[in-house]
């Protein structure tokens, strides 16, 4: 028993040699470094993907709202305000809308036409990184038959601080990463074209030392479904 115990002690003592310790620590460190690198890579990849998916989500939200609002509007009420910031467009577009589609009093008696009683305005602020703002505006003095012409105060009601705009009944920021927002109402086709580019800088891209710079651009060709009489 004693001999076996001494032998065991001898083996343990031999494993604790400095060389073995250095080697084992190096291996452990290498493994840890690899693990940390993988983790950092993964986190950056995840961050990058999240960044892209965030922009895609904004794009989906913007296009979905725009599509619906434009579809429900009347082309006769659509107007576009062009604005340029450092060579990039930060336009505003106004379109007639209804406060409540289920309220019969919002339709003209005898004809059934919607009495456009508000305007929905989309615009990109003119800050370095713009925000895309959607606001419902109810200008005073709604005509009996509703607004049948474009929003006359569009150009003056597109402030960088959306809370300072007048006659606002609701306001939403659909994205805070707007670089370019260009609108064009084409009466020859009865369509509204929207080109929107969202851009966001994030952490370093995985595997590089470059900062993440993700952008997404989409172009919508939208047609109003409530243009009456048809153009």
């Amino acid at each position: 028993m004693k001999t076996e115990a001494c032998s065991w002690r001898h083996q343990v003592a031999s494993g604790n040699s400095l060389l073995e310790l250095v080697v084992s620590m190096s291996v452990l460190l290498a493994i840890l470094a690899l693990v940390v690198a993988i983790m950092i890579y993964g986190v950056r990849m995840f961050g990058h993907t999240s960044l892209r998916q965030g922009l895609e989500g904004d794009a989906r939200r913007i296009s979905s709202r725009l599509k619906k609002d434009l579809a429900l509007s009347d082309f006769h009420t659509v107007s576009v305000q062009e604005r340029l910031v450092s060579g990039l467009r930060r336009d505003g577009v106004g379109l007639g809308s209804l406060s409540d589609w289920n309220d019969p009093s919002n339709f003209q008696a005898g004809l059934g036409l919607p009495r456009w009683n508000r305007y929905t305005v989309y615009y990109a602020t003119q800050e370095a990184t713009g925000r895309l703002v959607r606001q419902d505006i109810e200008p005073p003095g709604i005509p009996l038959a509703g607004w049948n012409s474009p929003y006359s105060a569009l150009s003056s009601n597109l402030r960088d601080d959306p809370t300072l705009n007048t006659s606002v009944v609701s306001s939403t920021v659909l994205s805070s990463q707007v670089e370019h927002f260009e609108c064009r109402a084409d009466v020859s086709e009865n369509t509204v074209t929207v080109v929107c580019r969202l851009r966001e800088k994030g952490q370093n891209v995985a595997g590089t030392n470059k900062k993440g710079d993700e952008s997404i651009q989409f172009r919508l060709l939208l047609k109003t479904k409530n243009t009456w009489p048809d153009i």
Partner: protein, 580 residues
């Protein structure tokens, strides 16, 4: 002691790494699953939306081909009209349709409240002449609902419509409308209007009877628009601002011009056939035999001497006649008519004293046309002759004394061929249509109607089924469309419509509908012109020439009053709103 610690670090490290990797994997899976779910949901939503649109188009098709569709409860039959990709069942004893569109993996329910044929709002609140359609579609659990109101559309939605070019050669051009919602001029070809870019704009969009600009006004062209000779494409904002409305050059939208048939026009049901051919008002050389009663007096009243006498005389001179040519181009007239009491164009010889009366006893017309069978043609008629096809009908009168053709009110005069009233020499005749809005007259000819040589007055309808329509209508003044009728004129031609203003002064006003299957040409004779109603050149050009100030005023009431509904319960519909 060191050995267990080393083992613990390795285990913890591995567990930590595994944990982080697991969390990341779970997050990736979660994010991707959300994305896939979003995409799937979006696809289903799109499919449901597409299904709603398909059902809307299906119901629109059914209603346009039968405006009574859905007015009575369905009998529960399966629809065999729908395309094979769509299965539709009419739910018995209801106004509901159900079905599926397998390609879109969608089922649907549609409820139709058809009030198209009713003049009043329905009890469920559907406006007159409208139909409400509510559609709900389900695609794999995702539902979309659409509600839409459709109504009867006007056959023509503009004051002027042309598939070709439009040229308004005028001092000024004003586009107006009595429709609260539309004020349009449309053309598929080039449009040329007076200037709008420089100086005082001479093309403007205005409210009727006012100088207030009309922002809904629009000149729409699939080709270029020229104002004062300048292409306005590069200056649209200025052009719009100056005119008060909108110019839309090089439009890419499609628009259709209804192919109006002669049978679509409201006509008096009672028809009187007249002899087709040419009625030529001219002057012919004639040998006239007459007896004049005359007297001679000497001194002052009471006359010392008075002598009465009757003197027969004979002269050869030019007199007014109306020639009738049964066939176009024939060298001599089929018949010639001359009033036997007309004396204003006869110069009696110098007789002693004053002529009290003259009676024409014989007129022999001397034709200098080679081959003219003069012996067969002279007819010394009463002051009025009738040109009815049926002898003795005596409804369509020609007043030879005053050179007037008087059409019977409330009747349709029908010619089996061309109907031409021309002037070769002498005074032009007057063609009198109905005198009141409820007493309109109509001429329908299988070929051409040519009344260009005469002046046409009054209210009525002129239909040249397969030929041209040429006339010089008097400008009417008032605008009045009532339930009893309208004061305008309908001019329809299977080919060209050519109008000329008979007067070069004042203001020429045309109320009604002009429909040319090909071209429309108007010579304004330098007068101001107002055209209220609708002007259509379906497959041709519109030309306004030598005009002063031109006003187009769209008035849909004329269309309603002048046209019948489409045959076989067909109707054209337009969407009033779309709610989703």
């Amino acid at each position: 002691m060191r050995v267990p610690i080393q083992k613990g670090i390795a285990l913890i490290s591995v567990m930590m790494v595994m944990g982080v990797l697991l969390m990341m994997t779970i997050s990736f899976i979660q994010v991707n699953r959300d994305n896939i779910a979003q995409v799937n949901s979006s696809e289903k939503r799109d499919r449901a939306q597409a299904a709603c649109a398909a059902v809307y188009n299906y119901v629109l098709y059914r209603l346009e081909h039968d405006k009574t569709f859905g007015t009575a409860p369905f009998s529960g039959e399966k629809d065999t009209i729908a395309a094979p990709e769509m299965r539709v069942t009419e739910v018995a004893a209801s106004n509901r349709l159900e079905g599926e569109i397998p390609a879109l993996q969608a089922t649907f329910t549609a409820t139709l409240s058809n009030n198209l044929n009713v003049d009043a709002t329905s009890v469920t609140g559907v406006p007159a002449h409208s139909a409400l359609l509510e559609v709900t579609c389900d695609s794999n659990g995702i539902q979309r609902s659409v509600e839409t109101l459709i109504r009867v559309a006007p056959l023509f939605d503009s004051s002027a419509l042309s598939r070709g070019s439009m040229n308004i050669e005028a001092n000024s051009f004003r586009v107006r409308s009595r429709d609260k919602y539309r004020n349009l001029v449309r053309s598929e070809g080039e449009v040329r209007v007076p200037s709008v870019l420089s100086g005082t704009p001479r093309t403007r969009f205005l409210e009727p009877e006012s100088n207030v600009t009309d922002s809904k006004g629009m000149i729409w062209a699939k080709d270029k628009i020229f104002a004062g000779g300048d292409d306005i494409a590069g200056d649209l904002l200025d052009a719009n601002s100056n005119s008060g409305g909108r110019f839309v050059p090089e439009a890419k939208q499609h628009f259709q011009i209804h192919d109006l048939q002669a049978s679509d026009i409201q006509l008096p049901t009672s028809t009187i056939p007249v002899r087709a051919g040419e009625y030529r008002f001219t002057m012919a050389t004639a040998t006239i035999k007459a007896v004049s009663a005359h007297h001679y007096e000497e001194g002052s009243w009471p006359f010392e001497h008075r002598e009465d006498a009757e003197t027969p005389w004979e002269t050869t001179q030019l007199i007014h006649v109306m020639e009738y040519y049964e066939k176009p181009g024939q060298p001599s007239p089929t018949r010639v008519f001359r009033s036997n009491t007309r004396l204003d164009d006869i110069k009696p010889p110098d007789l002693r004293g004053t002529i009290d009366s003259t009676t024409v006893t014989d007129v022999q017309i001397v034709y200098d046309t080679p081959g003219a069978n003069s012996a067969a043609v002279p007819v010394i008629a009463n002051d009025t002759v009738y040109i009815d096809e049926v002898e003795g009908s005596n409804k369509v009168a020609v007043d030879l004394l005053n050179q007037r053709i008087v059409l019977p009110p409330g009747e349709t005069v029908s010619a089996n061929g061309d109907f031409k009233v021309t002037t070769e020499r002498g005074e032009p005749p007057f063609i009198e249509l109905g005198s009141t809005s409820s007493d309109r007259a109509a001429i329908v000819a299988d070929g051409t109607i040519n009344l260009e040589a005469g002046v046409t007055g009054g209210f009525g309808t002129l239909v040249a089924k397969s030929g041209d329509l040429l006339l010089r209508p008097e400008g009417t003044l008032a605008v009045d469309v009532t339930s009893n009728g309208y004061d305008g004129l309908v001019a329809y031609a299977g080919q060209d419509v050519i109008l000329k203003n008979p007067s070069d002064s004042g203001r020429w006003t045309f109320n009604g509908l002009v429909y040319a299957s090909r071209n429309f040409k108007f010579d304004a004779n330098n007068a101001d012109t107002r055209l209220e109603g609708t002007l259509v050149a379906r497959d041709g050009n519109i030309d306004f020439l030598k005009a002063g100030d031109v006003d187009f005023v769209y008035n849909p009431d004329y269309l309603d009053a002048m046209l019948k509904g489409l045959p076989e319960n067909r109707v054209e519909l337009e969407r009033v709103y779309w709610k989703e």
